[in-house]
Amino acid sequence: MAKYPQELLHASRRLLARRTGQRGKLPSARIRRSISTSYYALFHFLLDEVGKRLVGAHNDLRRRRHIFIRTLTHAGLKAALERVRGRNVDAIVEDFFRAPGTPTGSVVVPLFAQNLARAFSDAQAKRHDADYDLNKQLSERDASRLNRRVFRVIAAWQAANSPADRDFKHALCLLMVLRGQLRQQG
């Protein structure tokens, strides 16, 4: 994992840490900051993935990657990931995800991608409440579960490296840049 998203995940976890013997509820601000930070860890992980896969991973390309990923948006990532959060790729974009030489029909979403897409939707919904709606209660359990979930989906994404997995990731990264929309959709 790139350094920045990893640091964000650690920061999110540290916000929930208790001193030895400390009991009682954590301050709401720490819970909300933790949730927001877990979301941003996943968001920045995806930016890094898109940059490395579409621009290139070489150190010399870092500046170009950073310029490129500024074109990505929260809503764009969400729209693209919504296309792959079910068992099959959304029919509207399934041809785009079909690997070369594979037959027509539904395209199955690999579990690592489905889980990451769902985690992103969950994290974005919770981050909305954490940052903007103080009337909505969020528990320490919500924050710790989200932190673990983000860590888990990132690890699974990184472990998925078969040729089919890499092809799927590449298509998904392209769709994130395209904000989930293809021209043929009109």
């Binding site: 948006t73 969950d122 974005q124 673990r148």
Partner: protein, 87 residues
């Protein structure tokens, strides 16, 4: 966008959580619809529980997975599951 009645969604949550390890701790299920600041609709699925002090986060993962899978079959709004202390 596919949307189901809250009564249908709540019944589905009750069904998938009933036999789960935390089924007997769930005192109430609250559903709320909202739209985030990016314009995406989502559902809050709030499980009000008596106590989860002796339950690990990992034990809750299958429960949450089941709720998400079940509700996404009925409704396109993403179900964001939360745990709250029952009053």
């Amino acid at each position: 966008m596919k949307q189901a009645d809250f009564s249908v969604l709540k019944k589905r949550v009750e069904d998938v959580t009933h036999d789960s390890p935390v089924g007997d701790r769930i005192k109430n299920i609250v559903l709320e619809a909202d739209r985030d600041d990016e314009g995406s609709d989502f559902l809050r699925v709030i499980l009000e529980v008596s106590s989860l002090d002796d339950v690990q986060d990992a034990d809750l993962d299958p429960v949450v997975d089941s709720i998400e899978t079940a509700l996404l079959e009925l409704d396109d709004r993403f179900p964001s599951v939360r745990f709250a202390d029952a009053a």
